[in-house]
Chain length 341, copies 2
DNA sequence: GGCGAACGTCAAAGCGCTTTGGGAGGAGGG
DNA sequence: CCCTCCTCCCAAAGCGCTTTGACGTTCGCC
């Protein structure tokens, strides 16, 4: 069923039918109702390619996901982010199109997406400190929102981020207040902007008390359970074991906890753990009493905000680029306690 | 840059340029090279909407993700599946379009996707025992592949699934061999086909030894860490605690382990745990020695297979519907041991 | 009763591509 | 030398929609 057939069926012109369905005022209310009813009955939906060709818009948002051996972008955090964004898209009639791309082809992919014109805007995931994608997309004139920020870029761009620096500063202070002095940092890859900011917060808090960070207790890697376990195990069995861990993701924190338990250390008593918690749907940090003391910021909310911002930018391209900094909550859980003497 | 401009630039007709770029034999090799070079230099990519309109194909595959309060489909398993599928799509020039939908609008969404024609095929996620989507999509004449199966549907359809029944039967046998007699089943929602099959495997193994399943030790719910913890805690503190757990996902197994440890029980000695392991990228079951004894089947591979099958179905619509049953590996880890006396 | 505005509708152009049905020009065969 | 057959290219139609510009009708008002 296409527009022509529907128009013939209704004994109307295609123009009138199109206007009726798209809410234009030039058609009488009677006709509009008649058209809408027929469209529903005959199960007519306009062909989106044809519509897109005619309007110049495609009603779709692109997410490109960098994949590499080193870094796994299709991770649980990503899943929750797009769940949030997808809600908003669905409510506004937008589709979400995703492309995976290796590191090599990335720039080409963005250009080609632009040229092929199959999305009206994009979300940039996993920005690095000095991320060339921002300049590229600005160049291409494609509306985009970055999930996170890119510290070394001063060109204006829209972003949604949680205040990683502040969160980790508070978390570090909390551990310092409890008397901990050797605090390990188990961070994500530090070329990722968010990880770099977390480390900054950690170092800022230490410096404020006149403490220098010890490179031996800081490490960065892919945030998996295994990585958390491996690192914590190594540090705890080392010469000067830390009394506390500051961890960048709940999943890695679970690995840290496992390492502690391997060695007979009880979390919250023998060793303290603070983690960042993205508040994922299937990986909650406990029910009434949180398992881990944590800095919490919902990545699903971030997805919702990013999507909303992007849609508003598409609607009003001239408006200034919106930005949104989300503060993380600090949640006291069972995994922290005074430093052992 | 569009085809007309490129053709003008080259002093050729649009036809010739189009043919040159699409590999038709009617154009001389010289011209073809000249066109391809110019296209690259001028950064031309054909507009995909226009191309789609002209060819009737959209070079995109749809994934619709049911969301409900009860069941979170955008979960880690889903993420890995689309990572696998995405690889294949990317290699074949297909886009992946995802739509979230509440349970209510599901049928309408499928119809509308069909009518709008913006995908060439679909992947069906999370089939239930008696899943109406299969009949619907067969009706609509849209190529599709199901990730999983729908037990009560006899109409032919293409699917990729891992042999859940067999895997859980083997796992149960392993526990029985170790002397366990009270084996708890911590399953996913049993209206989901895969969960139902796992339970079937579990019951089959018990029955083969003349044991009846005890409803008190079987439960089903959303596979989260919290759920695993809550259920295990309740069972272990109950009147007749199980000596072993058979768990449907690694993440829930981690919750079960936490519950055991809460009560001072060591996994592998005081209580045994076998889990299904989807072999997710960021949630590996240990490095050299697996943490959990597990039935393992890579959901990323399943995604790859599903995508490949779908693309081949689109290429050859008349061929019979392919199916693929993947056998799970049985991995011996540190979480199982003889039943305590 | 006649005029202009407002209303409801339409035919046709155009979005950027593919594809059909030729057509010019040169090579080869009779 | 003419005719046929390739080879290489082209003009134009069409995919399904929106949108422009224009065309009857009807109505209110002088």
């Amino acid at each position: 069923m296409n527009l022509r057939q529907l128009a013939e069926h209704l004994q109307l012109s295609q123009t009138t039918v199109s206007r009726a369905l798209n809410g234009y005022p030039e058609v009488s209310e009677d006709t509009r109702q008649r058209v809408i009813r027929a469209a529903r009955e005959l199960n007519y939906s306009p062909n989106s390619r044809a519509k897109g060709l005619a309007t110049g818009r495609s009603m779709a948002i692109g997410h490109v996901i960098p994949v590499s051996d080193r870094h796994q972008m299709v991770n649980p955090v990503f899943g929750d982010f797009i769940a949030g964004a997808g809600e908003v898209y669905a409510a506004s009639g937008y589709d979400m199109v995703m492309s995976l791309v290796g590191e090599a082809g990335e720039e080409d992919l963005y250009r080609s997406i632009r040229a092929r014109g199959n999305v009206d805007g994009m979300v940039v995931h996993g920005p690095r400190l000095d991320d060339c994608r921002i300049a590229l997309l600005n160049d291409l004139g494609m509306p985009f929102v970055v999930h996170g920020r890119a510290t070394r870029i001063e060109a204006p761009y829209a972003w949604v981020d949680s205040n990683s620096e502040r969160a980790f500063e508070r978390a570090t202070n909390h551990l310092l207040d409890l008397g901990h002095r050797r605090i390990a940092l188990v961070n994500g890859h530090e070329d990722m902007d968010f990880a770099w900011r977390r480390r900054l917060g950690y170092e800022t808090a230490l410096a404020a008390r006149g403490l220098a960070p010890d490179p031996a207790t800081m490490c960065a890697g892919e945030m998996t359970e295994l990585y958390g376990h491996e690192v914590a195990r190594r540090l705890l069995e080392g010469p000067e074991p830390p009394t506390a861990f500051l961890v960048s993701s709940l999943i890695a924190a679970i690995g840290v906890r496992r390492a502690a338990q391997d060695l007979g250390l009880a979390p919250g008593r023998d060793v303290s753990i603070v983690t960042h918690d993205d508040d994922l749907g299937y990986m909650k940090n406990g029910a009434d009493v949180p398992i881990f003391t944590a800095t919490r910021s919902s990545v699903r909310d971030a997805g919702r905000h990013a999507a909303q911002m992007l849609l508003s930018m598409i609607a009003a391209p001239q408006a200034p680029r919106p930005t949104r900094l989300m503060e993380a909550e600090f949640i006291l859980g069972a995994s922290t306690g005074p430093a052992p003497i």
